[in-house]
Structures are given as C-alpha cells and as structure tokens.
Symmetry: C2
Subunit: 599 residues, 2 copies
Amino acid sequence: MVQRLSHLFLRTLREDPVDAEVASHKLLVRAGYIRRAAPGVYTWLPLGLKVLGKIEQIVREEMNAIGAQEVHFPALLPREPYEATNRWDEYGDNLFRLQDRKGADMLLAPTHEEMFTLLVKDLYSSYKDLPVYLYQIQTKYRDEARPRAGLLRGREFIMKDSYSFNLDDEGLEEAYQAHRAAYIRIFERLGLEIAIVQAQSGAMGGSRSEEFLHPTPIGEDTFVRSEGGYAANVEAVTTVRPQPLDFSATAAARVLETPESETIETLVAQSNALHPREGQPWTAADTLKNVILAVILPDGSRQLVAVGLPGDREVDLGRVEVNIGALLGVGGEVEVEAAGAEDLKNFPQLIKGYIGPGLSLDAPLLGTESATGIPYYLDPRVAEGSAWITGANEAGKHVFSLVYGRDFKADGLIEASQVREGDPAPDGSGPLLAARGIEMGHIFALGRKYAEALGLKVLDQNGKLQTVTMGSYGIGVTRALAAIAEGNHDDRGLIWPRNLAPADVHLVVTGKGTEIFEGAEELVAQLEAAGLEVLFDDRPKVSPGVKFGDAELLGVPTIVVVGRGFADGLIELKDRRSGQAREVALDSALEEILAEVRG
Amino acid sequence: MVQRLSHLFLRTLREDPVDAEVASHKLLVRAGYIRRAAPGVYTWLPLGLKVLGKIEQIVREEMNAIGAQEVHFPALLPREPYEATNRWDEYGDNLFRLQDRKGADMLLAPTHEEMFTLLVKDLYSSYKDLPVYLYQIQTKYRDEARPRAGLLRGREFIMKDSYSFNLDDEGLEEAYQAHRAAYIRIFERLGLEIAIVQAQSGAMGGSRSEEFLHPTPIGEDTFVRSEGGYAANVEAVTTVRPQPLDFSATAAARVLETPESETIETLVAQSNALHPREGQPWTAADTLKNVILAVILPDGSRQLVAVGLPGDREVDLGRVEVNIGALLGVGGEVEVEAAGAEDLKNFPQLIKGYIGPGLSLDAPLLGTESATGIPYYLDPRVAEGSAWITGANEAGKHVFSLVYGRDFKADGLIEASQVREGDPAPDGSGPLLAARGIEMGHIFALGRKYAEALGLKVLDQNGKLQTVTMGSYGIGVTRALAAIAEGNHDDRGLIWPRNLAPADVHLVVTGKGTEIFEGAEELVAQLEAAGLEVLFDDRPKVSPGVKFGDAELLGVPTIVVVGRGFADGLIELKDRRSGQAREVALDSALEEILAEVRG
C-alpha cells in the first residue's frame, strides 16, 4: 500500500499546540496523527487511525488467543442496570448523564460490568455454559475533572474491556491468570515496559486487583517497588504493623505546658526545651498528629473523620480516599480534603494545633462514641501500647505519655501515611523505591458483587442455583498509543516501533527533472509489490529540508531518500531511531530495504 | 478459522422477541446476532459482529478506491459548531443533548458536517490542497421518536459518512458522481437492489440530493418510479404544472346554498342536486379543498398555514413538511399536523367545512395580507385562471366559479397533494408507479452552506479567498445488515450471501461414538487449513434436530453434516438457500466443499 503525501490528508505543524504539556501530545498533534475536537476529545487523522488499528489488532489477537470472544455494546445505555449496582450515583460527576426525548435517564458508559452481567444472565443458565470470557474494543466516556496530556487522560477514549464468568473461585483465578498472561504478552508486543502492581479496587469493588503501570516520569500514578520483586500502587501499599508494646512500666499520662506549639516542628522544639527526655531528645516520631478530614461522599455531602498518625509522617489523601469508603460503609468513589473552618465551626472543643483523642478512655474527644462523635482512625504504625505526645485539646498544652489502648482508642485502622522510599516492603522483600507510571491496564477479580446485584445465577452440577463469580479486565487502547509515542521520540519527532508504524518505509524524493521522480516511482512500485506499506513523499515544489523534517517528525522507522546520489545510481537508507544513514546502490535497493524492514 | 458451538457465546431462541415486527429483527435476535440493550439500542454478539465487519470492509474498500481517506471523529461534541450552522436548534428533539460537569453543552452527533468542515479549515488553506474526500465509519446517535424494526431505525447506529471539499462546482459534481458510482458498487457487493431516487435535502440543506432506496414492502419510505426511468421519493416528486386557462368567458363568482356539505363528498352531491351543471355532473375535481395546518417549528411553536388543493386529492403531510420550511423562511426539520380547535379559536371567520380564500381579491380571508393573516399556499395543480367550487366562509354556503387569479390569490405554491399511481412523471417518462423502500444511503451536493457558516475558505489560483463547496454522503451500515437479513431469509432462518456470512461452512456432527467426532474434527482441520471459516457444531449431547434447526436459523450458506452416512464413508452437503442436499464421499469432501464455497 502506498500513501502519497501529495494526496494524504496531513498538515504537519512547526509549533507545539498551546495546550500540550507532554511530548506525545505535542508530537501526535504536530505530526498530524490526532486533532483536538473538544477538551479531552480527539479526532483521529489517517496516520493516527492506522497506528491505532495496529494496536487494536494486537489486543484482539491476544484476547482471542485466550478464548475470549468479541462482542460490542452500545455506549449509550439506560440508567437502570447502573442503578441496581449503585454506580449511577457512585460515579458522581465522572459520569456523562443525559435524558432522551421521553425523559428517560441514560448515560455514556465508562465501563460495562452491568451490561455484560445482564447479557450473560440473558443467554446462559447452566454451569455447562461456563466459563465464558467476553470482550469488546469500544469507545468509553468519562467526564474527567481535568482532562490532560492529550490522549493520556481523555473524556472519550477507546478501551478493550473484558469480563470473565465462572462458577467457582478456582475458575475465577484461572480466568484472572489467563488475562494477566495475555496482558503481559500484549504489552510486550506493544514494546511497553510494564510494572504489575497491587492495587485497590476502588469503586469497581472486588477482592483483588492489579494495575499494569508503564513507568514514566510523566505518569500520574505513584507506585513503589522493592528489589525483591514487590510492586504496588502507593494507594495499595500496606504497612508492616509493629508488635504490641508492653506499657506496664510506662508513666501515667500528664498534661504539660507547650506554648506556641501548633506545628510538629514547634512542638518538638518546645518539648525538648521545656520537658527534655533523659538519654535522647524528643523527635517528631514521638508525637501523634491528629488531622480532621472532610470526606466528600458521592451524593455531595461531607462527612468528617479524624486520622491519627506519627508526627514524622504526612497524610496521603489519596491513600485515605481509597480506604475510607469501606470503613464508613460508603460505596463509590469519595474525595477527601482537609476540613475547613466551616466544617469545624460546631466543634469548639477542637483547638487547632492542639487536637488529641482525649486524656483518658473515660473522656474521649475523638471517635464515634466520643463527645464530638467524629470517627477516629489510626495509622497502623501506631502500635498497641505505644506512648505519645499529643494534643490536650487546650491551647498551649499537650499530653505526654498518652498510651494507645490504655488512655485512648480508635474506631479502626487506616492506611493514612505517605509511603516513603526506604519503608520496608510488606512482604519482607526489602526497602521500597518510588517511581511514577501511567496506568495502562487494570485487572480485577470482582467476585460476586455484580452477579449478586443483578441476579446472575446458573444451575450447578447438582441442579442448585449458584451466583456466578466475575472478573473484569481493561486496557486503555488510545492511552497505549500515547504512551508508546511518549517512550519513542526524540527532539525531531516520533520514532515508531516497526510493528506499529503507520508505514514500513517513508520514501522521500528530492531534486529536479522527471527522471528522478520516475526512478522513485519505480522503487515505490517495487516496494509495494513486495508487500510493504510505503509513505511516499512525492510532493513537487517542496524543499528537501521540509521533506526531511516531515519524515523525522512522522517517525516511520526506515527513511529512504531518492535524491542527490540518484544520478550515480545511489539512494540513501536511513534508520530513524539511530540516525545512521548509508548509501546503497539503486540496483540492490529493494533487497537492502527489505532486509532493513524485515530485520 | 474455526468457531466451535460448544464454546461460542450463542443461545438461539425458539420464540420471536415480543417487540419485533419485521423478519430481520426477529431472526437476528433469535439467531443470536444482536440483542436489545435499550429501545433502539443494540448489542452485537460474536456472529453479528463478524457480518458487520465484512460489510464495513466492503464500504471501506470502495471508499478508498475513489481516493477517500479514513479518519475518525468523536461522537461526543461541543455545541458551538452546531450552533454556528443552526443545527443545534434545527434538529429539535432528534438530537441527544447533554452537559458536562462544567455545564458546557455537548451533543451526540447524528452527522458530522460541521466537524469535517472545521477540520479542513484547520489544516488546509490553498486550492492546491483540494479536492479532498474524507470519511469515517462511526457510531451515530439520533433520538428517534419511534425507534422500530430493530436495526432498521435505531437510536445508536453505525454510519459511513463522507464529505467532499472542492474549489468549484465542477469539482463538486465530480465528487458527487464518484460517490454515486462507489455507492452503486457497494450495494452491488452487498447484494442489495437499489433504486436511486431524487430526494429533498431537508435539514441538511444543499442544492441536490439523491437517496439510495432498497425496495421492500416493509420500507418506511414511499417512492415512485416510471417505466421511462424516473424515480423519486414521494416528498421530492414535482407536479407537472397545468397551462394557464383563459377565463374571459368564465361566469362571475356566485355564492349558493349548499346545506350540510361539510365534506367534499356531500358538497359534490349537494352541488349536483341543487345546482346541476349542464352537460356533465360536478365531481370532486371541480372543488377546491382548503385545509388549515399547524406547522410545529424546531423551537416548539406552532404556525398556522392554509393549503388549497383540488378536492379529489388528499393532503400529504410528509410532502408539506419537507416543503413548508423554505416557504416560511424557517430552517430545520418541522412537523405538520391538522390544525385543532385550540389553534383555530381566534379565527371565528373560518367555518369548518366552508373555508375558502374569500369571495374577491378585495376581501381575502386567507393569505398573509388577508383578514386572518394565515399564509395561503396552493397545490401546483390549481391552474392560473381555473374556476372552482369552494367554501364561502358561511355555514351551508359555497361559492361557485371562483377563479384563481381573478377572484383569489395565494402566497405561493406548495407540493401538498398525495402523489398517486398513474400521475405523470415530471420528466415526461410515463405514468408513476408506487413502491416502498428503506433508505440505505443518501448523497447531497451541499454546496457552500456549511463552508460559509463556518468560514472555510482557501486561496485560489489568483490568490483570492474562495469559499469551498462541499458534498456529504452517508450509508447506514447497521441498517444495511438488517436490510440484507430482511431480503435473505425463509421461515426457518437467515440465508446469508456468501461474501457476508459469518462463516463459509457450518459443519454439524451428529451421532455417537468417538470415531464420528474424530472424523468431523479431521475434516474441520482440513477446511481450516484450506483457509475456510468454519462454524463447527461440536456440541455433545445435543440432538440432531436441534443442531439442524440451529444451522438453518444461523444461515451459513453451506451446511455439511457428518452423521448417518459416515460409517459408509459419506457426508452430506447442503445448500442453505436452495435446500438441496447431496451425499459426497468423505475422500472427496474437501474438494467438493471448496468447489461449493468458492463457486
């Protein structure tokens, strides 16, 4: 196949688009692969569509290889199934909602668990029908608060989503592993380095999930890994819980003057100045920081919670966000932010900078059964029996030697602290290192949540109705294209991997006279006859400089130049990635190009 | 490729779905090709997706063959471009509108003229860039008032839409003809008989358009054709205007008693009884019927109009709908219905059954300059100078010999009458015959409407800015699939054309013992190795009757049965369409099947 630049719907741009921050976004627009239609919504131009098709084909082949069957659901769906699983509300503002002419509520689906569940319920009724894996490659919608980075976080995007249906837990595990292996192969074929990290299931629900992250400095997700092979999204890192401490010899709690000590830093300084400890000075790790947070529920209401953690750690709102819902018994995605003055106006007992859980078990100030009624959760780093300096709920005063379990208690534990490099991996595989990545895929062992909500049951071997267990598995297809572009470029343009490039060869003809153009045409015809895809820059009256610049920008891996050397029977063969060029005799050009392309 | 029925996600149904009226809808659901997700919104199951892919590929090949380039636009679009062309309002209730989280108005696009225009404007600036033809195969949305007939009139559906951009009218004509020819080839390859009919452009605007109708009794569109080759949508049929008549000898108008003559039938009877004409009796063709209609504008308001037509014709509201907008200077789609009592309450002069245009030019009662101010249009069959019996605007009275041009006038002409079989074709090619069809494609020579509204200009050869002229061309891809199913079935199921079938061969194995299953497996492997797509009914413990029934329902053109004759070295080869079956020696089975499949 030959695409001629004299005809191709393409206009390369010299300037980066004003709204573009990352290289893939800049280059895909400049090279005429995509064009912005609305914030977070893109149009695919011919070259972009070509690369996208190749990525989709790889995904399709690997899904078919594990026996998954392709179907295709509508994007426009009725409210009812999403109401049944509560996701109509849980998605909050991220869901595009609309009404049809009869006033019926509809949505643009961000993911299709409900519809797949209903489809299988509709068609299948026996354990003999299972397992079944179904997938689609389909346009999805998500009303992102901050669409950014071009295709990396769009509002209309293409995903491959698949769903597995099994009778029992062993079956689900098999389906999960099959998808996991397929994903590994897909990302290998896409040339994308991947870290598979343990993840939180979030609004999706389910017992277990892993994210496929592509490590890159521009990634929005922070994750950690250890030398020993542990990897997890920071939201999913669990803390190694310290052993309970024996507090039989610990002094009784006592309230001491600590004037002007509203921050951990000033508190440590005042404690050492006014109440020094023998042997070793007080540090931030000896203090218990209590933070009041506002949890914004899917219905928009605000629920206050208090979180206690060692003073040498900061609160990680993201970690609180993924964990707090389950503790409060709230489904769906929540947002968490520091409580403001308005939130706290009804709690005069809480003195900013001096907040504590209360001075004894008999007089708690934080917790559902306390005077304030604000639920109180502790970071797991706070050991049973450990003693702390913490707020005495009086301006200028802190309580010393307040022991967890003896003097105060909590409603539960929450992973609230920032994870730090050097923290131990929970599986004992060594200290954690931090990295950033883009979420390319996510696999969920959902279990029976959706099947239960929607009544998907089949008859088992004994003729009894059993609720089916499910998995759901997603890959961001358009996002993968952007990630590939992000990892394959230099300052002159894109550099596609061979198996994904919009063409095998970019052939540039430069010079004057018909002979050279005829020579180029002949070579192009030979390449086409050999089955290659050729991007042919046959534009007359365009300068060699512009043509070479466009070739580098478009990023086809092999560039052939029919130009200066043509009179001497020579053409130039250039590798876009290495930049290495060599002259080749026209007679052996076809052979040499084929060798280059076919490796 | 082999698809095994033991694994395929499929459940055939014995019963027709309750909401299905037409055969294609019933059979595509029963055979497990599609499944309803919401009114007018369907899910594609594996077999359906397979056929759909083959249709898309044919469309793609033929579009590429005329040099059209594939792109892909979002379905979710901002309001602004559609506001600029006024289509945001003109589409009325047919448009799915929504707001994003920031309150910005968006829509689900029913067609993409605006976006293509803006894209070309964005990238191109010179006549040298033209012509360019662009297309996409994409999901479209239209909030139909009455989604019906399965895929034939859905609310989410797939269309191929293409757009041509040319500098001048000759270029547009070339683009139009290229698409017209491509469409003819596409429908030939899809095996769909097509009548190309002249059509009204409707809300799309533009100078000229033709519909590609597939003649079928279940079609929603009525069209007419003549032996001599004229074909038109009934909305687009123009009337051969009669010559003006000399009225110098016509008697003066006179009001006569015609008691109880509120219908044309009673009026004719009373006229003949009370005021007989010498030589020939009065007929309905001598009466002028005046009908008050309510035009519902895109903004929902109602505008009254009066239409006058010969009493032997009925008003065709569809024909009025497509023509009235231009007369009233209103863009967009309007609806027309008979005016009701509420509409008429401010017009006591209009007496039901006795409405007329007024008794003289000095005292008009209908028309923008009359006492009522209601615009008055005449059917073109009303000749200049013709004399009529019509309402005298007094109960029980009609005026006789009221002459058009002498005694009354109108605001203009409108094609308002029903077209009848036997009416002359406007091009003189003979009498019209009526037929019904489904609109499969529509091509529009749009001209400069969109380019003007959105400022798409390029520099011409002389360095002057010229507005580009456009065409737009659509094919309903999902609708084509339904039409093909509609035209290719019998009472037992679907019968796919070979080039569109979900498989080349449907191989059924029946009987007991492993030998016969092994024999079938071997034959399947041979067929696969020969490059055939095989649907293999390998289900154990399913009765031969069920398997044969499913094979007929699914509609693969060649059915192979490995069964009873297997012990004697024989298999059965059956043509689904003709029903003819023959026994073939197992030794030559591969050869025979290939001959059958490859024709």
